[in-house]
């Protein structure tokens, strides 16, 4: 798994539960390094070990921890650049939902080896979408659940999101997520100026 993703998980653990917990995770998971480095690649087994150790130490079901991680990715202030990149997906939440099909290509434009889930969008009726996502580790739909809820808030959209099962075919797991739009323009949403960041 890409260092950026491991590092994001480490950032989530330290910001939410404190450095002490991270030290414990590192010890118990026998992590051979002090910190994950963003610009490199780690064996998936390491990612899994760190994640499983965290859920055990926190006595939390993995789906709920992953959901919190998804929310963290969008709402943690130092990660605002990521929120902004996601907002480029569309000017409304429905447009953004459709842009998730491009997420993998978008990510790869910037980091060709980044593990981004493959997402397909299906519109069931006027206000209901069903997303299917494939990733190399289980749990992507829970991360998306937290992340998309936060993005709906960001757009000022009122929506109900729920996990919608998992299928396994030919060794590839596909996870599903349902998005029901109640009010696209429910609230103001957070500001997104195109030219806000002058780097």
């Amino acid at each position: 798994m890409h260092g950026l993703i491991n590092r994001a998980f480490q950032g989530f653990v330290t910001s939410t539960f404190g450095e002490d917990l991270w030290d414990e995770v590192r010890d118990q998971a026998d992590l051979p390094i002090d910190d994950f480095e963003s610009m490199t690649y780690y064996d998936d087994a390491l990612t899994v070990a760190v994640f499983n150790t965290t859920t055990q130490l926190l006595h939390r079901p993995s789906a709920s921890l992953l959901e919190d991680m998804g929310t963290f990715l969008v709402t943690h202030p130092p990660l605002d650049p990521l929120r902004r990149l996601l907002r480029f997906g569309g000017s409304t939440f429905p447009e953004f939902i459709w842009s998730l099909e491009e997420l993998r290509d978008r990510g790869r434009l910037v980091m060709p080896d980044l593990d981004i889930p493959k997402i397909a969008v299906a519109q069931l009726d006027k206000r209901t979408f069903r997303l299917s996502a494939q990733w190399q580790l289980p749990g992507i739909s829970a991360i998306l659940l937290g992340g998309l809820r936060a993005m709906a808030d960001d757009y000022g959209t009122l929506a109900i999101l729920s996990l919608d099962g998992r299928e396994e075919a030919d060794g590839i797991g596909t996870e599903f997520l349902k998005v029901e739009l109640l009010d696209v323009q429910h609230a103001e949403g957070r500001s997104f100026q195109l030219g806000e960041v002058l780097a």
Binding site: L4, E37, S38, M39, P81, L82, R84, L85, F88, G90, S91, R106, L109, V110, M111, F192, Q193, L194, G195, E196, V197, L198, A199
Partner: protein, 351 residues
């Protein structure tokens, strides 16, 4: 195909409305070069400049093709890339292309931000809605921000690596027990000092006397405590510029910068010996040792010596100090200076 085919935010009432949706940064010019209509985004960019019957050339300059000077030559540049300059913001170059309308209806000029898009978007507070939904300028903005983010990550990585490298370097040059520079570090320093030929210095080789006895009698922890105490003595007795180092089990090498007076070097050596002779308490053990010191100064050589030469000479001086009874210093005997080692000289006379 009529405008009715494109109902989006309401039904366009004219071809201008259709073009506004398709090309929000377009202008429609009359045959005499008057801006008769402007798309919503370009209106935002032109602001108050666009009032009444504004001639195209009053708001825009044409950077290239160079033969465009008036409406007629502008119209002749149809289908070429036109470099435009917005007169109110000449530092934001724009790109345009022009297509003639049928008959005498004038022309459509479609404008894009070109590579000034980052500044232009900030300057005019443009939003996603100011671009046609299929306009890839927005993707360029995305890429621009994403690149800035990854560049930041790379920069942080480089900084962390630099810090880690510096700390590894420091460790590789430091004696763990005393915290003093080690053999490798002092050798590098000496090589460097010897290369700058104007720099004069004195070398002290300090060898602990009776240290082996402390180690053998009281064990290594006691010996380590003694070595740490010696390390502290160097740090306290030497000037900031001087370089102490531990080069072996009970051997230390000190560079006194800018000191060549044998009398001064001798005083420093005596003081170091005195301090080392003060007993060190370790638990309920009291350890007492002494030290012998060999001294050589760079000024004792008529030509710049090699490190090897100086080390041999200071070693010989140390050997003499040891031979003469320990707990004393001896200066390297050279042709340049007479022997300045009074204690040794007295010893020799009285022997």
């Amino acid at each position: 195909m009529t405008a009715m085919d494109f109902p989006k935010d309401g039904v366009p009432i004219s071809s201008d409305g259709v073009f506004d949706q398709l090309m929000p940064m377009h202008l429609r010019l009359s045959m005499d070069g008057i801006i008769e209509h402007a798309g919503p985004t370009i209106r935002k960019m032109l602001g108050d400049d666009l009032v009444g019957q504004a001639p195209f050339f009053s708001l825009f300059g044409v950077h290239h093709p160079v033969d465009v000077m008036d409406t007629e030559t502008l119209f002749a540049a149809a289908n070429q890339r036109i470099g435009l300059i917005l007169r109110r913001k000449p530092d934001l170059p724009l790109r345009a292309h022009l297509a003639r309308l049928p008959g005498e209806d004038g022309a459509i000029v479609d404008i894009s931000l070109g590579l000034s898009f980052v500044r232009a978007v900030a300057e005019f507070s443009l939003t996603l809605r100011d671009f046609a939904p299929n306009d890839q300028t927005v993707d360029l903005l995305y890429l621009h921000e994403a690149n800035a983010s990854t560049a930041r990550l790379s920069r942080h990585l480089t900084e962390r690596l630099k810090a880690a490298h510096a700390s590894a370097e420091h460790q590789a040059r430091t004696d763990v027990l005393t915290g003093l520079p080690n053999r490798r570090a002092i050798d590098l320093d000496l090589e460097r000092i010897l290369k700058s030929v104007d720099e004069q210095f004195t070398l002290l080789q300090v060898d602990l006397d009776l240290f082996k006895e402390v180690n053998d009698t009281y064990g290594h922890p006691a010996g380590d405590a003694v070595l740490r105490a010696v390390g502290r003595i160097f740090e306290e007795e030497l000037r900031r510029n001087d370089i102490p180092s531990r080069i072996g089990g009970d051997e230390f090498l000190v560079v006194l910068r800018d000191v060549v007076e044998p009398a001064v070097a001798g005083r420093i050596a005596s003081r170091i010996i005195q301090r080392i002779e003060q007993p060190v308490t370790f638990g309920n053990i009291v350890c007492q040792i002494s030290a012998s010191v060999g001294i050589v100064t760079s000024a004792q050589y008529s030509t710049r010596p090699s490190l090897k030469q100086m080390m041999e000479d200071v070693d010989a001086a140390l050997y003499r100090a040891k031979n003469d009874g320990r707990g004393r210093y001896a200066l390297h005997a050279s042709l340049t200076y007479p022997i300045q080692d009074r204690r040794s000289a007295i010893d020799r006379r009285t022997r």
